[in-house]
Amino acid sequence: MSLTFTPETEKILQDIWSRYPEGRKRSAVIPMLMYAQDQLGVVTSELVAEVAKRCEVSPLQVEEVVGYYSMLNKKRMGKHHVQVCTNIACLLMGGEALWHHATKRLGIGHKEVTADGLISLEEVECAGACSWAPCVVDGYEYHHHVTIEKLDQLIDSIQKVH
């Protein structure tokens, strides 16, 4: 099966490729995987092969990278990937309670997906929102000063739209 990207993704991938000097296209591997994953929802072996071809490296070299970085997923996450920070600043402000609440309400654990594929959860390390803790990130969208009520509202709103 060959991979097709949307025109927007294709444009970004080509732009990324052009940023690095001749002979240094391996640098494009991680950004390409990240932006392609945004469209595909997951890193497939076709994607690995495609990125390897475009960046003139072996598929194994791409696989190595996929295994190392926590944001590259070989397992499909939910349509909404909800990340709860429980690192120190968030821990001090109730981040752990948020995490437990989310897992209980959705009945899933770390890096697991609800049966309908809508929501996945991840307990994450410091997201860079410490002064506005605790924080929850939905996809790439930050939510600050999160309370259990606000978390419930967020989950409600995700479930309502779909």
Binding site: R19, S27, Y69, C126, W132, A133, Y140
Partner: protein, 436 residues
């Protein structure tokens, strides 16, 4: 989301934050934007470096290395291409300032990079931004496009003969990639495993070429230094500690936030005045002063002028500027465990003392926290952590060990109390009778 400016602040790099459309090039140009660059174009590289040295600007990423000195290490006669790399990986727990600098004033960072390129004679630069900050990458990409459209990037910048291209580069989730040599590996498309040093990036960095690598805040400060003059910038801080710093205050205070204050600002004042004191009128237990890697301070130690040298005198670190304030009810064992879970998760696994050390410490701290710890565990944690110090390939190992040693040495009684509690719980009525 952002705190209101506070009268205690000296806003130099955050002065444009509140302006309407502060991220746009028009706002930037209307408020001294790219003035320093035009100055830099008239200056020789040596003059720029001299101003930076005079300013006493020290790196804001963690290690506090003098920036002028770092830039002077670039071998200018080396025929290889040279690179500018921005460390916008911001993942040291407690740190959330680079985010504000990019979100509110991306052109300030761009200007700092162009000045760096002018200084070392470089044509390409990359801003390595942590993957979670996608919205910032979008803001930065937009600002870069504006800078190109206005002739501040690309060929023959403002008729100076200078060519410079600058790009964003997304990370993909790995704390270790904030460490400079791991970041360069990652930028080359590999796993974030650190490199042996020397050679340092100034000599052999990106693509084995001379590279200037600094934190976002460091680059953002460079235009201000050239605009004000190095001496005027230095005069704001304390001797050898020039200028201002963005301090990220989090935890149990009434007004957490990111505040730009002069180096040497008193910690006591920061907590009780700028940040409005401890939440709910509670007492202070301690502060983790410079990100999760910095050893904790007890309440009675939290009264000193916050500059690099005084943090060192207090046997801790200025680090990344992430100050986490803990009230009297804070469970230190839990904080120590959470800290170690972080390092165990982020250890890249390359060297044994770090990989094994962090995972053992996590295990032992977990049983302490869960109430199945043993008396000998307290000394075991202490010994294990001390044995990691200086024995690891990159500073992450030390970063994991130092705070752990700090928690045990400063709050040993809390670990002991946890044991007593659990011993009580483990005591059955029968045992109680036999004790009687």
């Amino acid at each position: 989301m952002f705190n209101e400016p506070h009268p205690d602040e000296v806003r130099i790099i955050s002065k444009r934050f509140g302006l309407p459309n502060s991220a746009s090039i028009d706002t930037y140009l209307a408020h001294e934007g790219y003035v320093a660059l035009m100055k830099a174009i008239e200056m020789s590289p040596e003059q720029i470096i001299d101003e930076l040295k005079l300013s006493n600007l020290r790196g804001r990423g963690g290690a506090g290395f003098p920036t002028g000195l770092k830039w002077s290490f670039i071998p200018r006669d080396n025929p290889k291409p040279k690179y500018v790399v921005v460390n916008a990986d911001e993942s040291e727990p407690g740190t959330c300032k680079d985010r504000l600098l990019i979100q509110n004033d991306p052109h300030q960072l761009i200007e700092g990079c162009i000045i760096a390129a002018r200084t070392i004679g470089c044509k390409k630069g990359y801003i390595y931004i942590r993957g979670e900050y996608r919205y910032l990458i979008d803001i930065m990409d937009k600002a870069l496009a504006e800078a190109y459209a206005h002739g501040y990037l690309g060929k023959n910048i403002k008729g100076s003969g200078l060519d410079f291209d600058l790009y964003t580069h997304t990370g993909a989730g790995a704390y270790e990639c904030g460490e400079e040599s791991a970041l360069l590996e990652s930028l080359e498309g590999k796993r974030g495993v650190p490199r042996i040093r020397p050679p340092f990036p100034a000599v052999s960095g990106l693509y084995a070429s001379p590279t200037v690598l600094n934190n976002v805040e460091t680059f953002c400060t460079v235009p201000a230094v050239l605009r004000m003059g190095g001496q005027a910038y230095a005069d704001i801080g304390t001797p050898k500690n020039g200028g201002t710093r963005m301090l990220c205050v989090s935890g149990h205070v009434n007004r957490p936030g990111v505040y730009e204050v002069p180096l040497g600002f008193p910690m006591q004042k920061m907590i009780y005045e700028t940040c409005g004191g401890i939440l709910n009128g509670k007492k202070l237990k301690g502060v983790i002063p410079g990100g999760s890697s910095s050893p904790v301070l007890k309440a009675d130690e939290c009264d000193f002028p916050m500059d690099y040298d005084n943090y060192a005198r207090m046997k801790t670190m200025a680090g990344s500027g992430g100050m986490m304030v803990m009230d009297e009810d804070t469970d230190i064992v839990k904080v120590a465990l959470r800290t170690m879970r972080f390092y165990a998760h982020e250890s890249c696994g390359w060297c044994i003392p770090c990989r094994e050390g962090t995972s053992w410490l996590r295990k032992i701290l977990t049983r302490m926290d869960e109430g199945t710890g043993r008396r000998a565990d307290i000394d075991l944690i202490h010994e294990l952590a001390k044995n990691m110090l200086g024995r690891t390939f990159c500073p992450l190992g030390d970063a994991a060990a130092m705070p752990t040693i700090g928690f045990i040495e400063k709050f040993r009684e809390e670990f002991e109390a946890r044991l007593r509690e659990t011993t009580m719980l483990a005591t059955t009525p029968d045992q109680l009778i036999s004790i009687n």
